[in-house]
Amino acid sequence: MTNNNEILLQVDNLKTYFHTRTGCFRAVNGVSFHVRKGETLGIVGESGSGKSVSQYSLLKLIPQPPGKIESGTAFFDGTDLLSADEKTLRGIRGKRISMIFQDPMTCLNPYLKIGDQIIEPLLIHHNYNKEEARKKAIEALKQVGMTSPEKRMKGYPHELSGGMRQRVMIAMALITEPELLIADEPTTALDVTVQAQILDLIKKLQKEKNTAVIFITHDLGVIAGVADRVMVMYAGEIVEEGLTEEIFYSACHPYTRALLKSIPANAQVGDELFSIDGLPPNLSHKITGCSFNPRCTEKVNDDKNLDFPTLTEITKSHRVANCACALRNVSEIERNS
């Protein structure tokens, strides 16, 4: 799907901590990744693994305080988003980078007409007059498959079903033709049939406009369908990153493997479902060594536990945390191939 390989967004060593009364939560702890033009990067992980916070940090959408971006750079087309001032950011947010949020029920303003909400980015970023903006909004609603868009423009969000509201969100996010779309669990609140429609729609619009998409979800099935590359996050860190096929067919990190095994769709009926025992670690405690170690089933007693696992490259596109178990899996895969 990639038309050119130019890197659109390059994030390095992003750290976002939340300083609360009960301690310092290391929600995102040194994350580096990049997104190329026109590609879809999927981010998977459990709730609390930092997948949303890492993306919100890019646009400074986290509440500060208690949140604080401790370090890192995020170059978007030559601008460092993390050190940019509010004015520069305002020109980027909603114009060049848009977001779709998880819950369409709460992200639309219930007091404003749908039309007013959709044209707002155009009025702010493009100096359209109201009439032009309205025309463009109607067109955008048509594109996302809304019936009778003229009538919908005058309606309020509560008149729409969840799927329809998510369409409005998508229309709103894409109306400024952004270069990067961050979709934070856009289909989690929807039914499978509606989910299929929405995923199809995002894919179609992405192709038309060559938008890069960062797709956050915890559903590996959805990721398999939409993503070109996948990043697996655990406890605020990236544990594995690679092309979608690499992640699904030759996963190396024990956490990625466990996630894939625990999907009911992959299991034989009648067997016990593979489950990851225990809970994700408390991010307010300092974690040394592999963060997945306490729940890992592949660990061997005499494994040397690295203090700070870092990502090592296996192939050009495939990186994995260099904990002992992952490296063992890497050499096993190499032997078999």
């Binding site: 559903d219 369908g225 489950s275």
Partner: protein, 327 residues
Amino acid sequence: MSYLNIENLVTSFPVRGQGFFSKKIPDVKIINNVSLNIKKGEVLGLVGESGCGKSTLGRSLLRLVPVKSGKILFNNDDLMNKNYSELSKLRPQLQMIFQDPYASLDPRMTIYDTLAEPLLFHNIVPKSELDEEINRLMNLVGLAPRYIKKYPHEFSGGQRQRIAIARALALRPEFIIADEPVSALDVSIQSQIINLLLDLKKKLNLTILFISHDLSVVRFICDRIAVMYLGKIVEIAPSKELFENPIHPYTQALLSAIPLPDPRKEKNRERILLQGEPPSHLNPPSGCAFSPRCHKKKDASCGTRTPSLVQTSDTRWVSDCACCEQR
């Protein structure tokens, strides 16, 4: 020999028109003439889109919502003829696990209180054995008994769902309605709870009505599956048969919409993309309720004749609409 038998169940809710003097609107039927039976010891899955009435059906079985007409035979005993106190005596046998463990536990009660309340109310164990029984329940669902003095907010989602399951099991029920018990949980935690439910089912010989919109979970846990669309059941089949050979166009669309965690298969599969939105109960389409979105619709008769569920083999029931018969 069926264990729980539902015949022609109708649950409807009154709707107010706009304004005081508005025309009276007939009650809206959320459950429209549903018949279903559940065998002892089986797990029956109930799937459908949100708003199709699957949760209402579950609640109707326990008479938690006002049921308009029909029969609910539980061990050949009609629950519809029971008054409040008779129902209350039966409740220990019929328990429910709710979807959202964040909302279904009282935030002001410790886990001990939450588990003790049903035990004391129904006199399941004498007071002297209460502590012992609560410890037993905690162990049963895989929680350490030392947590009993804690409050729900101190637990994670998966742990809370375990508490909710322990509460449902406290009364030693035979039949459990699990209303989307894992949809609020993460994949890794979800599999823990599914394993727990299957394990408990075996241990305690439970019968479960498993309500869910996640077909991959349903495939894994259920013996039989009933598919619901707009207040009606359109297909019932053993789980394996349903997945291998879905007959109703809606079931086909539903199965094809499940995202597969396998990129190669996912790229090459043909999807049936449904057009339009789920219809509203307030204004149901005439004839076959699925006809406006149906990808197989052939002629106008779909929009006029209302299909009903008929038995096609020993184990299968399917809606007798034209599209299902045509195959």
